[in-house]
């Protein structure tokens, strides 16, 4: 039998749910078993009550897990009815989720240095990876970006995770470099590509495509975390397809983290 998704059903309780930037919330949930098993780059598919006409779960990445406290922290952007309702959930509210789903990041054996690139709400899975790299003593460089200063997340957390250099950019120039976070990543890869053994990116798809191209040019292995509309999140519905060099693959089972060379952009 092929291997089913690692996801299980978890009853969860909201611990806190607060805005951390314009339109971005940090949700902390109590989910002891999930907190012990989820790995950087995996996702959860959460039910958001409150609208009988809206049935499907919302797939979300996570920013951190605390196995001892039994909590998982999720950062999400309010982009539609479902995430709007999620933002209204108060501490003590109960729901359930399916997780952990999919495959996480795969840090190459013997990795000496990594380059992390994250745009907008693509920050959380990359932040998870940064903490994992820090725990393994692997140095890394970070380039993050957002549309504007108001919606930027992650700078403090990357710093707390020990990132020595954080390049910050905003599309409108309201903070950091005026432009995209890909610019710094492309520059670093062109000038010092040989020092890196791993590039990891999450953000808007055109951004990841640019990072993937720069990594390929520099000859550095690159992984990207992709987002898709998803019905089930555990390999049954075939809706979250990603076009790859070896055919269509489900983001929920074969991803959401993919080897960038495999992705047809």
């Amino acid at each position: 039998m092929p291997t089913p998704s690692p996801a299980r059903m978890h009853d969860v309780t909201v611990v806190s749910n607060e805005p951390i930037a314009d339109g971005v919330y940090a949700l902390v949930i109590n989910a002891p078993k999930l907190a012990q098993t989820i790995k950087p780059g995996q996702f959860v598919n959460i039910a958001v009550p409150g609208n009988a006409m809206s049935l499907l779960r919302i797939p979300l990445s996570y920013a951190s897990a605390d196995a001892e406290a039994g909590t998982v922290e999720i950062w999400y952007a309010v982009v539609g009815d479902g995430t709007e309702r999620l933002s209204q959930m108060k501490p003590g509210a109960k729901t359930d989720l399916l997780g952990p789903g999919g495959n996480g990041w795969t840090i190459p054996e013997g990795c000496r240095r990594a380059l992390l690139v994250a745009g907008g709400i693509g920050v959380p899975p990359v932040l998870c990876l940064a903490r994992e790299l820090a725990a393994r003593g692997i140095p890394y460089t970070v380039s993050i970006g957002a549309a504007s200063k108001g919606c930027l997340v992650g700078e403090d957390e990357f710093e707390a995770a020990g990132a020595p250099v954080i390049s910050v950019s905003t599309d409108d120039g309201s903070y950091g470099y005026h432009g995209f976070c890909t610019a710094a990543a492309e520059q670093v890869l062109e000038l010092e590509g040989g020092e890196f053994d791993y590039v990891a990116a999450c953000g808007p798809e055109p951004m990841m495509a640019k990072v993937a191209a720069a990594a390929a040019k520099a000859g550095v292995p690159c992984e990207v975390s992709l987002e898709r509309m998803m019905s089930c999140g555990f390999g049954a519905c075939s809706t979250c397809a990603v076009e790859t060099t070896s055919g269509m693959k489900g983001a929920c089972m074969c991803g959401p983290v993919f080897n960038a060379e495999e992705v047809v952009w």
């Binding site: 039998m1 299980r8 499907l56 019905s231 390999g235 049954a236 269509m248």
Partner: protein, 307 residues
């Protein structure tokens, strides 16, 4: 188990209960093993498969709509050979545990349906029956393009009938049902699965583009349940072969409506995405309902709708 016998005879297949799963919503069954005991179900229907692999449609393949969802997967499948190799051992074991496995057959043309069915018949000896999908709304040839007229559906059935001795079911499009059902019965269909998803559209008014990769997709979910119940009732009046009711079943009572309308079995679809264990929950709820009706067998309730 309760006092009511839930066993039914569906198209010559003995099912331990009427609950089945809708093709394309239950993978190949093994995806659900961590959430429920799949062998509690009367049957499962596996995702449509063609003789050769199909890539399916580009992204985005799905958008949520009020009361349901709309998909444009386009029957992505690995081909019958890979299907049988990957999932065959699990499905053979499921069959041994008393759950009938119905394999859905996809094609772009009469010849492709026949080719796929020949492979299924050869490579899937454990299969209880085959379901010909002449109603997928998301492919450019075959599917609903062939199954939306009595002549087209009959042509597929006529070509497929001699290929296997096993029961042949047909997944029907939500159009011209009574006349197409009669044509399929005349060509030797053993049972009918009513209905496939209903074609719909969802437009992003800001970008003026479709919310999925094609202009239209297939609607499913509770939004279409009353339509499906009506269509099942109409088909049951038109033909003598048994019907499996599909469309927006979220609870045991939804399943009970199909039974009362005349369906012998009921397939759970989108509910399995929302709650992977929905099909067994619905089975238990259906059983409770049957008990509440004071019957000794669920068969007494099939078609027991009173106007």
């Amino acid at each position: 188990m309760g006092k009511v016998s839930m066993a039914v005879d569906f198209a010559g297949i003995k099912l331990k209960n009427p609950i089945n799963t809708a093709a394309g919503t239950f993978g190949q069954g093994w995806q659900f093993t961590n959430f429920m005991d799949v062998s509690e179900l009367g049957a499962i229907t596996t995702k449509g498969c063609a003789a050769e692999p199909w890539p399916g449609n580009p992204k985005p393949r799905m958008t949520e709509v009020p009361g349901g969802m709309m998909n444009s997967v386009g029957l992505q499948n690995p081909g019958v050979r890979a299907f049988a190799e990957e999932s065959g051992p699990y499905l053979a074991d499921l069959t041994d545990k008393g759950t009938a496995v119905i394999c859905q057959v996809a094609g772009h043309s009469v010849e492709e349906y026949v080719a796929a069915l020949e492979l299924f018949d050869e490579l899937c000896p454990w299969a209880a029956a085959f379901e010909i999908n002449v109603s997928c709304p998301n492919i450019s040839a075959g599917g609903a393009a062939m199954g939306s007229t009595p002549e087209g559906a009959a042509e597929v059935m006529r070509a497929c009938r001699p290929v296997t001795k096993k029961p042949l079911l047909v997944k029907m499009a939500p159009v011209r049902l009574p006349e197409i059902a009669r044509a399929l019965e005349a060509e030797g269909a053993d049972g009918l699965t009513v209905i496939n998803s209903i074609p719909g559209m969802a437009i992003d008014v800001h970008t003026r583009r479709s919310k999925i990769s094609r202009p239209t997709g297939g609607l499913s979910g509770p939004l279409l349940h009353p339509i499906a119940v009506r269509m099942v009732w109409e088909v049951c009046q038109a033909v003598d072969i048994p019907v499996c009711g599909v469309g927006g079943v979220m609870t045991g009572e939804d399943a009970a409506e199909f039974i009362l309308a005349g369906a012998t079995s009921v397939a759970v679809g989108m509910a399995s995405f929302v709650d992977p264990a929905a099909s067994v929950r619905i089975l238990h709820e259906l059983e409770e309902w049957a008990e509440s009706q004071g019957v000794s067998s669920i068969n007494e309730l099939i078609g027991a709708f009173e106007c």
